[in-house]
């Protein structure tokens, strides 16, 4: 902790880190808060060593120089989001889902006599988020959502990730946030690892999908909640725009779109409404696209 604080003091003193932070935000929409600067600095340090930059200034220049700009930004973003995947990763998002989003969707759907919820884990990687959603929903359907059904559609571009997700076997680091009662109910030991229980699996379907493939994306419809965490950060502006438009069309009215914990859609589309929950934000699809307040 002391080491972290020392890095932070040093980081705050060098305005170049602010410029690197702003550049990352501009390109990817991921914001590095100053109280977490020690993370930014340590991750940049890894990349600085790799590319041979001696100072943050030099690294910023390298990040902005034409031939290596895109590739290095990708490497840096990889470094920044590394190790972020685990089950029950973002408790504020999970709480928002359980305490606000599901009750709100229940109310809307009940009026229409619909009793099914559909989730899409877009860019599901090795399946941690998808199984988390399934476990949460299994709990819900045993209590206030009795009689309801649900499905989780999980997609990723990478075939190997999809295969691994299918396996559903995780090490103890990946399950470190799983509450003990969920561990007991929804996992079985597999050597030194943990295997997702058979009871969870029917609720999740894993498929390979390229989000830039318009013809495939058009088939995704009737979704209530989309999770797409730390995936769009790798897309350029146009691809991001196109994909988010697909997400918008895939969502039912009143549906929700969750990005990563500190990821934003700013500058991509104004069709969604940014909504705040305690400790989390999401994008909500209103019944009619409404102009931003300033346009009134």
């Amino acid at each position: 902790m002391i080491a972290n604080e020392l890095i932070q003091v040093e980081a705050l003193n060098d305005p170049v880190w602010i410029r690197i932070r702003d550049l990352i935000y501009q390109v990817s929409g991921i914001y590095q808060a100053e109280n977490k600067f020690y993370l930014l600095v340590s991750r940049c340090n890894v990349r600085m060593k790799a590319v041979g930059s001696r100072t943050p200034r030099e690294y910023l220049d390298f990040l902005m120089a034409r031939p290596n700009r895109d590739a290095e930004m990708r490497n840096l973003l990889n470094e920044i989001t590394i190790g972020e995947t685990c089950l029950f990763r973002s408790m504020p998002q999970i709480e928002a889902l359980r305490k606000v989003v599901i009750p709100s969707l229940m109310e809307v759907k009940r009026k229409l006599s619909f009793t099914k919820l559909r989730f899409w884990s877009a860019g599901c990687s090795t399946g941690e988020e998808s199984y988390t959603l399934a476990m949460l929903m299994m709990e819900e359907t045993q209590t206030r959502l009795k009689g309801w059904t649900f499905e989780i559609m999980a997609t990723d571009l990478n075939e190997r990730s999809v295969a691994k997700a299918h396996e559903g076997i995780y090490n103890d680091y990946a399950v470190r946030n799983v509450p003990p009662e969920y561990m007991k109910k929804y996992f079985t030991p597999a050597g030194s690892n943990f295997r997702v229980a058979d009871s969870v699996r029917p609720f999740v379907t894993f498929n390979r999908l390229n989000m830039l493939d318009d013809s495939k994306m058009l088939f995704m419809r009737g979704i209530d909640v989309i999770f797409c965490c730390n995936v769009l950060i790798y897309f350029d502006g146009r691809s991001k725009n196109r994909t988010v438009n697909h997400f918008y069309n895939a969502l039912l009215t009143n549906g929700y779109f969750f990005l990563g914990q500190s990821e934003s859609l700013y500058g991509i589309t104004e069709k969604f409404h940014l909504v705040h929950f305690p400790g989390a934000t999401a994008y909500w699809k209103p019944s009619e696209p409404v102009a931003k307040a300033g346009g009134l």
């Binding site: 914001y31 808060a33 100053e34 928002a96 305690p278 300033g294």
Partner: protein, 295 residues
């Protein structure tokens, strides 16, 4: 239901009504100047009046966040290193914390100041972004917006304890719980205290209307700034320590719509990014609160 007059006579007739801290008036006066005209010598003098505050300044100046190689020993150096704002934060927190005795706090004192300082910082930042001319007034309004909680803790301690427990248990906003159990809110009692302390009318309105901006534009931008900053803090872990399950669409909140009409540049604000930066305040507030409460 209590009327404001009835509440006023009930509160002011009680001996335990909080009195304005002695340090507060000269400090408010001193800080009521443009930043460049603030008299550092006078601030150092005010800090030195109170040994415990002076010690806190020195301790904070030596903390990891500000620490330099050379230890800070004098109050003056500590004040210079911390900067006016942080010193002022420390002074306010201290003087207002001592307004009610330690054993009379219903809401944990550290939690109360965490929220008040958080709202103050967000109000100032928000005012800066808007181009609202008096950012320091916005800061003060944020700092003082919940002083009604001090009144309730002193004047109706048992009823207020039950009220706070109800709000926590039912995860509802405090003012809703107060209306249900007390018949008045900390906004009403805050107004009475602010009047007794002879705080300026615009600040009184911000205190009174910060939960109830929907049907009134009496207080103008200041009320809306406090209202939205309070909401943001409660959503970003700078609230009263309990979960309020709710969804806020800021851009369609009455306070936001009102501010956009007054300050059109607000429509261009990257609200998501602004929200993420609030987590930076949390660290600053923690540092300050732990300095004040590390007795």
């Amino acid at each position: 239901m209590e009327t404001l007059d009835h509440l006023r006579s009930r509160i002011t007739s009680i001996d335990s009504m909080p009195t304005i801290p002695v340090i507060l008036r000269p400090l408010l006066h001193c800080l009521d100047q443009p930043v460049e005209q603030i008299d550092i010598t006078r601030i150092v003098e005010l800090v030195s009046y109170d040994k415990s505050i002076a010690a806190q300044c020195v301790r904070m100046a030596n903390s990891a966040l500000f620490g330099r190689n050379k230890p800070v020993e004098s109050v003056r150096t500590a004040v210079m290193n911390l900067g006016m704002w942080r010193v002022r934060d420390l002074l306010f927190s201290n003087s207002l914390t001592n307004v009610i005795p330690v054993n009379r706090w219903v809401v944990d004192a550290a939690v109360f100041w965490r929220h008040s300082l958080g709202v103050a910082l967000v109000c100032r930042k928000f005012a800066e972004i808007l181009g609202y001319p008096d950012t320091e007034k916005a800061y003060l309004a944020g700092l003082l917006h919940d002083i009604g909680i001090l009144v309730n803790s002193m004047v109706v301690p048992e009823e207020f304890r039950v009220t706070f427990e109800k709000a926590t248990r039912e995860q509802i906003p405090l003012n809703e719980a107060e209306l249900a159990t007390l018949g008045f809110t900390h906004c009403d009692s805050g107004r009475v205290l602010a009047e007794a302390w002879k705080i300026t009318p615009d600040l009184i309105e911000a205190i009174e209307l910060h939960h109830d901006i929907g049907d009134s534009q009496r207080g103008g931008p200041l009320v809306a700034i406090v209202h939205l900053s309070d909401l943001l803090c409660r959503l970003r872990d700078l609230g009263y320590g309990y979960y309020e399950p709710r969804q806020i669409d800021f851009e369609n909140e009455p306070g936001w719509l009102y501010l956009v009409m007054q300050f059109p540049n607000l429509a261009d604000l990257d609200l998501a990014r602004f929200t993420f930066t609030l987590d930076e305040y949390a660290t600053e507030v923690e540092e300050l609160v732990s300095t004040v409460f590390a007795h």
